[in-house]
């Protein structure tokens, strides 16, 4: 009899389909799923039996309220939301830009002493820290902060969007700056350009179309966020939706929500088309 392989054929044969780490990861995911479902009281029966209430809510929305007063309120809300999101993205971009420039890691210059390296790292870490704080606090929390500080209205909402946008854009900008081809930048430095000049003429032009695309996308996200910010009193159409909800004026809610969806879809399409052109 020919000699057999030393190990007995196990599950899946000689070449295991799943390695130990993968199997372990699957187990962990399964465990987390069960634990989380228990924690939130996941109940399909409740979901399906809740249908009646949803049906009542939806049927009360129809026909939507298309009276002149409601349409005017919707228009004002939409415009306010639009203005908040636009200014938020623009101010966010303006704040993000210098922070991103500082938060971009340049290839260490040859012949730098360790003290110089350390000093050069300080602005980088400060900028990254500020951007992280801006970004990791959700815009709705920023809105709460500004509403408490400045009172109700669209202005604190716009500020919240601006701060959050600055954090998101700053991070994405600096990633764009870092992934730009570095050879043209090196070539500039090798012919005596200063760090600032190499950045302005070498790195920045290569990142600009990426910046524009990211900013448009952030504006898109801001429109969506701005509809929510009204729930904490920070202006926009969300505030109207909340008020109508509290008054059980569901036909008006239907008009407001419908208009919101249309505007979000329109801005989405517009920004996607512009971004496609930027990228080509």
């Amino acid at each position: 009899m020919a000699s057999r392989p030393t190990s007995p054929p196990g599950l899946g044969g000689a070449i295991p389909r799943f390695s130990w780490p993968v199997s372990l990861a699957l187990l962990v995911i399964l465990g987390l799923t069960g634990w989380s479902a228990y924690g939130v009281g996941f109940d399909l029966v409740e979901l399906l039996s809740g249908g009646g209430a949803v049906e009542r809510f939806v049927s009360e929305m129809f026909p939507p309220d298309l009276s002149a007063a409601t349409l005017r309120a919707t228009g004002v809300g939409i415009l306010e939301t639009f203005q908040m999101s636009f200014l938020g993205a623009l101010i966010g971009a303006i704040v993000a830009f210098p922070l991103a420039a500082l938060g971009t890691r340049e290839a260490p210059t040859v012949g730098m002493s360790s003290v110089e390296r350390l000093l050069a790292a300080i602005p980088y870490h400060v900028a990254r820290f500020v951007l992280n704080v801006f970004r990791s606090v959700p815009d709705i929390l920023w809105a709460l902060v500004f509403v408490v500080a400045l009172g109700l209205g669209p202005f604190p909402g716009m500020l919240a969007l601006a701060v959050h946008s600055a954090g998101v854009l700053g991070k994405l900008y600096s990633e764009t700056l870092e992934t730009v081809p570095s050879r043209p930048v090196e070539a500039l430095r090798a012919t005596g350009a200063t760090e600032l000049q190499a950045f302005l003429f070498g790195r920045l032009p290569q990142a600009m179309s990426g910046f524009a695309s990211l900013t448009l996308y952030q504006w898109e996200c801001n429109i969506r966020s701005a509809t929510i910010l009204g729930f904490v009193g920070a202006g926009g159409i969300g505030q109207q939706i909340l008020i109508s909800m509290n008054l059980f004026d569901y036909p008006k809610v239907a008009t407001l929500v419908g208009a919101t969806i249309v505007v979000v879809l329109l801005v989405d399409r517009f920004s996607a088309a512009v971004r496609r052109r930027l990228m080509s």
Binding site: V110, G111, E186, A190, F201, P205, Q206
Partner: protein
């Protein structure tokens, strides 16, 4: 105008691998020489030591009588401004216009205010005239405003030459400038480099084409980071060449392709092997 170069026992390491070892070389002002060697022999690294773009492991590099690696930032900037580089991959900024890229040859000499002015409004009248003249000289006079990314490879290499003409450097480092361009452009680029050399600039050219290297009065050959030959082309025998390119299969392939057809193939060097893409 030309600059004297002295390399004394230069060694450069990338991690464990030695890219250059004990390289000693002296180049007179206004001299022109060709550097040859297999891929990964250290040709590009040698050039990068001349602009202090790579850390030096041992030895010293002297450019124009000054120890390059002991200069302050300001002095290094001033020294680099006199060094012009031209590469196989052009290394232009694709989003800027051809004219702006050519003008960047001068950017190191601009003060802070002039830098901002140039960024927002473009080069001033004097620089613009020189840029136009330089682009005319390389046959791209009417493409000043063209986006560099829209130009062909050969045209981009000519823009890179125009950048040199604007810069008027005392030392020119041409790193495989003909590897990715058509023969007509190659000739044109070569003529422009030789013109600058005749006007006094020291000229160092990395070449993959030994026949082209033989037209230079002096050839330096690198093999595995060391100088394998330094002298006139007539002293470079075929046996020496075989030793210099020994084990470089790409080279053999390249030669075979050339025997089959005279078309120039752009040379592709594996990432990191040429010492430039390793950073």
């Amino acid at each position: 105008m030309g600059q004297r170069l002295v390399l004394d026992g230069v060694g450069v390491r990338f991690g464990d691998a030695a890219a250059l070892e004990g390289v000693t070389l002296s180049v007179k002002p206004g001299e022109k020489l060709a550097v040859i060697g297999a891929s990964g022999a250290g040709k590009s690294t040698l050039f990068r030591t001349l602009t202090r773009s790579v850390a030096l492991g041992s030895g010293s590099v002297t450019v124009g009588g000054r120890n390059l690696y002991a200069l302050s930032w300001r002095e290094l900037g001033a020294t680099r401004r006199r060094v012009g580089t031209i590469h196989q991959a052009y290394n232009l900024v694709p989003e800027l216009s051809a004219g702006m890229n050519a003008a960047l040859g001068e950017v190191g000499g601009l003060g802070r205010l002039a830098t901002l002015r140039t960024l927002l409004l473009g080069p001033d009248a004097g620089l613009s005239r020189r840029v136009e003249g330089a682009l005319q000289q390389v046959g791209l006079g009417e493409r000043v405003r063209a986006r560099t990314a829209d130009l062909s490879g050969g045209q981009q290499q000519r823009v890179a030459v125009a950048r040199l003409l604007v810069q008027r450097p005392g030392l020119i480092l041409a790193d495989e400038p003909f590897a990715a361009v058509d023969p007509v452009t190659a000739e044109r680029v070569m003529a422009a480099l030789l013109d600058l050399n005749r006007e006094g600039a020291t000229l160092l050219v990395n070449l993959h084409d030994v026949a082209a290297a033989r037209t230079f009065p002096r050839i330096v050959a690198l093999r595995e980071g060391r100088i394998a030959f330094d002298g006139e082309p007539k002293d470079l025998t075929d046996e020496m060449l075989a030793g210099i390119y020994e084990g470089d299969e790409k080279r053999v392939q390249h030669e075979e392709e050339k025997l089959g057809s005279r078309r120039r193939e752009p040379m592709r060097v594996a990432e990191g092997r040429d010492g430039v893409s390793a950073h």
